[in-house]
């Protein structure tokens, strides 16, 4: 017991009773899920045994974009980047022997967030758990889907309505649930500077709260409870001092916004609650073992400052630029968190930066830039207007282009990429699978047959009635949560739920941000590329024409966009046909446009299946010997030969970061092709 007269020591932490104490660590998470509900359940249970303290569920792309596993667009993606969920039966398997009431479950789900929360509530009801005790987060941030991640379905207005309805529903029914999680994470991955990350994320949060307030379903005296449920998901990059300052700026500005704009009084309401995944963008394919050090440094940015420390942390695996991580890679990442929290003295101190003048000045500078950007967005009419006009996307594409330009011309040093590139080969890449995770095709069959079994077993009248009630609610503007929960209980499938709402709301295609962008690559090499393009035009009567597209459901469009901008900058005519395309659509574009080359961007791991489909389609159109195809993305070296055998002319990976080289190689491929009329 500390004597009341004894002076407290500044470097110690005290609890409520005045006893010296240490902080509890943040929640350790590993973003995981793959193959099937059964395989993912086994993984979660083993992670929990290994000391993980929360679940972070990765869903596969069909689940994220509202397609059941038997849909043609879904076929190459089932179980690839996460777990496939088709109905409540899959959820029963996924959470088997995992205590729901004790679990903090984070779901990375957006376009179909309402559906997955409904499944979770329905699961608790069927298992006899207390729904009001459920804890966790549905990511449910549609703005960053439009801007960066790509798994949106509906236009902004109905999307914001669904987010608001989830807040309204959870307020009483699931009070500990975070209905949405504002993500600045993906904005940084898409190129955002720290000030852009701050401003865009805060504008997004303001957009959500404004909608909830305007709708008026949350009583005024309980609005603070809605504010308190807004949480954030933040990125942490390699400039870790600036990142730490960014987190302090976030914390201070959120306090300011919630009190000034919304009149929140309780300091706990105004807390900036956030989870982190550290940066993946900066992880390199070259000398991938160096990524382990990068991840440690990035972790410091979000843990060092107690006032701005994250609530939950998940780390990417060191080999993420090469392939999806294996269990061992994830375990290695988890061990870093455990060492930092339990071996070091980090959690013993109050904030170690309070009063530091350099930090304060840096934080103020970031806040000033953020306020300016927020005022600009406000002037446009808020976040929805700034999304629909393409302003925000355009700013991100520009920042990304500038970043790529700086790396290209050596202004920004990336070890192993543009400096110190000679290295001894890593022994970590020499094991049996070559450091690569491979999915078992049997799991896909298991998922599809489970879906068929669910449909065969259910009461069709109940399912139809549930869907009709959902459609009616969507049309008349009433809350869609209960109708969605009834859909879940009636064994409606993910595809049926989303199709019903697609019928009412339509599908959305946001601005691409590619138009009007410039790339700062000026110099002799670009001049030479432009001369080559002019020379090509003189000899062939038209500029080199490329169709750039992204097949499948993966929506990370940054790579495709940067290539599109670089090619245009060099003098190509670029037909940018966007994301979520079928192989048929990409080939169809190239044929109608008489393209000289097709450039395909793939990150989902489905490159082999997609290559085959694209080459088959080209053959069917009679253009297979006329239009060469190149692939770019996260494509393991082992698969390059197979792709070449199928007829893919070139394969580019993240190590081909030099855009002038890439465009030059595209011209080489075109010139090698026999020219047709």
């Amino acid at each position: 017991m500390v004597d009341a007269a004894q002076e407290r020591q500044t470097h110690l932490l005290y609890d409520a009773k005045g006893e010296p104490t240490t902080d509890r660590p943040w929640i350790f998470r590993t973003y995981s899920g793959h193959s099937s509900a059964r395989a993912s359940n086994a993984l979660y249970r083993s992670n929990l045994t290994a000391g993980q303290t929360g679940l972070s569920i990765a869903f596969d792309l069909p689940t994220q974009t509202g397609y059941s596993s038997d849909h043609p667009l879904a076929a190459p993606e089932v179980g690839k980047v996460g777990v496939p969920i088709n109905s409540l039966d899959d959820f029963h398997v996924l959470f088997d022997q995992i205590p729901l009431e004790e679990m903090n479950t984070s779901m990375t789900i957006n376009g179909t967030a309402m559906w997955l929360l409904s499944l979770y509530v329905a699961l608790a009801r069927e298992r006899g758990d207390d729904v009001s005790k459920l804890q966790g987060t549905t990511q449910n941030d549609i703005v960053k889907e439009y801007l960066a991640r790509g798994t949106y379905i509906f236009p902004p207005e109905p999307s914001f309505r669904m987010i608001a309805e989830m807040y309204e529903y959870c307020l009483d029914a699931v009070p500990k649930w975070n209905p949405s999680n504002i993500c600045s994470y993906h904005l940084q991955e898409a190129g955002a500077t720290p000030a852009q990350e701050l401003a865009f994320a805060l504008a997004d949060a303001i957009g959500v709260l404004d909608v909830i307030r305007e709708r008026g379903h949350v009583p005024e005296d309980r609005f603070e409870s809605a504010i308190a449920r807004v949480s954030f998901f933040v990125n942490s990059g390699i400039r870790f001092v600036e990142e730490m300052c960014k987190m302090r700026a976030f914390t201070e500005m959120w306090d300011e916004i919630t009190s000034q704009r919304y009149g929140a009084k309780d300091p706990r309401t105004r807390l900036f609650r956030y989870g982190v995944q550290v940066n993946s963008l900066g992880l390199t394919e070259q000398q991938p073992e160096n990524n382990a050090w990068r991840i440690i440094l990035e972790t410091l940015g979000v843990t060092l400052s107690r006032n701005a420390r994250c609530r939950a942390l998940q780390l990417p695996a060191w080999n993420e630029a090469l392939s999806l991580p294996r269990p061992w890679d994830q375990q290695w990442a988890l061990r870093l968190q455990q060492i930092l929290a339990y071996e070091t003295d980090l959690l013993e101190y109050p904030d170690i930066f309070d009063g530091a003048p350099v930090i304060e000045s840096k934080v103020e500078d970031l806040k000033r830039q953020t306020r300016e950007e927020l005022a600009r967005i406000d002037g446009m009419g808020g976040v929805r207007a700034a999304v629909e006009s393409g302003y925000m996307k355009g700013q991100l594409v520009r920042s990304m282009s500038e970043r790529m330009s700086r790396i290209n011309n050596g202004e920004q040093i990336v070890v192993g990429v543009n400096r110190w590139t000679e290295a001894i080969e890593s022994p970590l890449l020499k094991d049996a699978e070559g450091g690569i995770f491979v999915i078992n095709e049997d799991d896909v069959r298991e998922t599809v047959s489970a879906l068929e079994a669910t449909k065969a077993r259910r009461d069709p009248a109940r399912a139809q009635a549930a869907l009709a009630a959902l459609e009616a609610a969507a049309r008349d503007g009433s809350n869609m949560m209960e109708p969605s929960i009834e859909c879940a209980l009636a064994r409606v499938t993910t595809g049926e739920w989303a199709d019903t709402l697609r019928k009412v709301f339509g599908e959305y295609r946001p601005p691409t941000g590619v138009e009007g962008q410039r790339l700062f690559l000026d110099g002799d090499r670009i001049d030479r590329l432009r001369e080559r393009c002019e020379d090509f035009s003189r000899r062939n009567g038209h500029r080199p024409r490329i169709v750039v597209g992204k097949p499948g459901l993966d929506g990370h469009s940054n790579g495709a966009e940067v290539i599109a901008v670089a090619a245009r900058h060099s003098g190509f005519d670029v037909i940018y046909s966007g994301i979520r395309l079928t192989p048929q659509e990409i080939v169809h574009s190239a044929v109608e446009e008489a393209a000289d080359i097709i450039g395909v961007s793939i990150l989902s791991g489905s490159h082999l299946a997609l290559a085959q489909q694209i080459m088959d389609e080209l053959k069917r159109a009679g253009a297979d010997r006329h239009i060469p195809v190149i692939f770019g993305g996260i494509i393991p070296k082992q698969d390059h030969a197979a792709l070449k055998d199928m007829g893919i002319a070139r394969v580019f990976t993240p190590s081909d970061f030099d855009l002038a080289d890439v465009v030059g190689a595209m011209l080489d491929v075109i010139e090698q092709q026999p020219v047709g009329a």
Binding site: H569, F572, I575, E592
Partner: protein
């Protein structure tokens, strides 16, 4: 590129069957900037004439402010036009701006237009403006010359509105100006030049509620002010791609005017002179006069392409 006559003939044959790859390759020939391509275009036009395929398409020009939703409308209209008839074929030509610095272009309209890939009766093509002013590209008219013989309706989507967006009027039979809800001052600003051009005003995104209604009324009074004394003041069609409102009305308007063709000879003269001006400048135009002028060159050679082939350019330029 040097195609034998029989290869060209086979390509024409397949294009008449609306084979996409064949149509696409012929469009490439009609965009070809090399002088030797002209002779091949003459051959293609002759081959089409020989098969009884004169120009027949109704050409609708869609112009309007950037972001007004022209591409989305083109997609919706195209799909409806072919649904209404079992034989009708529709081509869309969308023009995007070329970068002044690099000469390259991003042609992004396909992201908003989704025609079913198996439907032969719909053809979509993007085109770069190639630093041409006036809202359409240097190659727009030559390509329209081909498409109007292969399709029943050609939709042209211009770059976006500017002060000099008048060429769409030269190339099309009917001009649709697509606008989105906006402030009254913006309408005042536009009034100057562009208000006189369109045959029909399309107020898109009419689902935007009060803003759309305000724009409609301001626009109505501005048109009446800018175009006094017209016996039939132009219609304003309010459309929404989300709710589908007004789309059928817009398609009705096209169908009603499907036989309204503007003078083909005037059009050919305009674009022949423009081509000579682009390629050879003032000296070229002087030589054209010495060779009897555009009308004489066109009538003695029959077609635009043959007139291009017959024109004798300044020697130094070649």
């Amino acid at each position: 590129m040097t195609q034998t006559a029989s290869a060209l003939d086979a390509l024409v044959e397949r294009a008449l069957d609306l084979d996409k790859w064949a149509v696409a390759r012929l469009v490439r020939l009609f965009e070809d900037t090399r002088h030797e391509a002209i002779a091949q275009r003459v051959e293609v036009i002759e081959a089409l004439e020989a098969r009884g395929r004169p120009p027949r398409a109704f050409i609708a020009g869609l112009t309007g402010t950037p972001g007004a939703g022209k591409s989305t409308l083109v997609g919706e209209i195209g799909a409806r036009l072919i649904q209404r008839s079992e034989t009708r074929a529709v081509a869309a030509l969308a023009i995007d701006p070329t970068s002044q610095r690099s000469g390259g272009a991003i042609l992004g309209d396909r992201t908003r237009v989704r025609f079913p890939t198996e439907e032969r009766r719909l053809y979509f093509r993007s085109q770069a403006s190639e630093r041409n002013l006036g809202g359409i590209g240097r190659n727009t008219y030559p390509v329209v010359r081909l498409l109007e013989r292969l399709f029943d309706i050609v939709l042209i989507e211009t770059v976006g509105i500017g002060q000099s967006e008048i060429e769409v009027e030269q190339v099309s039979d009917r001009v649709y100006l697509v606008l989105q809800p906006m402030g009254g001052d913006q309408i005042q600003f536009m009034k100057a030049g562009i208000m006189e051009v369109p045959d029909v005003f399309v107020l898109n995104k009419a689902d935007a509620g009060a803003a759309a209604r305000r724009t409609y009324h301001t626009l109505r009074s501005s048109i009446d002010f800018a175009r006094p004394g017209e016996t039939e003041p132009p219609q304003i069609i309010q459309t929404s791609a989300i709710t589908g409102a007004g789309l059928d009305e817009l398609v009705d308007d096209m169908e009603q005017h499907i036989d309204t063709r503007r003078s083909a000879s005037r059009r050919a003269r305009y674009f022949l002179e423009k081509w000579i001006d682009d390629e050879y400048g003032r000296l070229g135009l002087q030589l054209l006069e010495q060779q009897g002028g555009a009308d004489a060159l066109l009538s003695s050679n029959g077609t635009f392409e043959a007139a291009q082939a017959a024109y004798r350019p300044p020697v130094a330029a070649r």
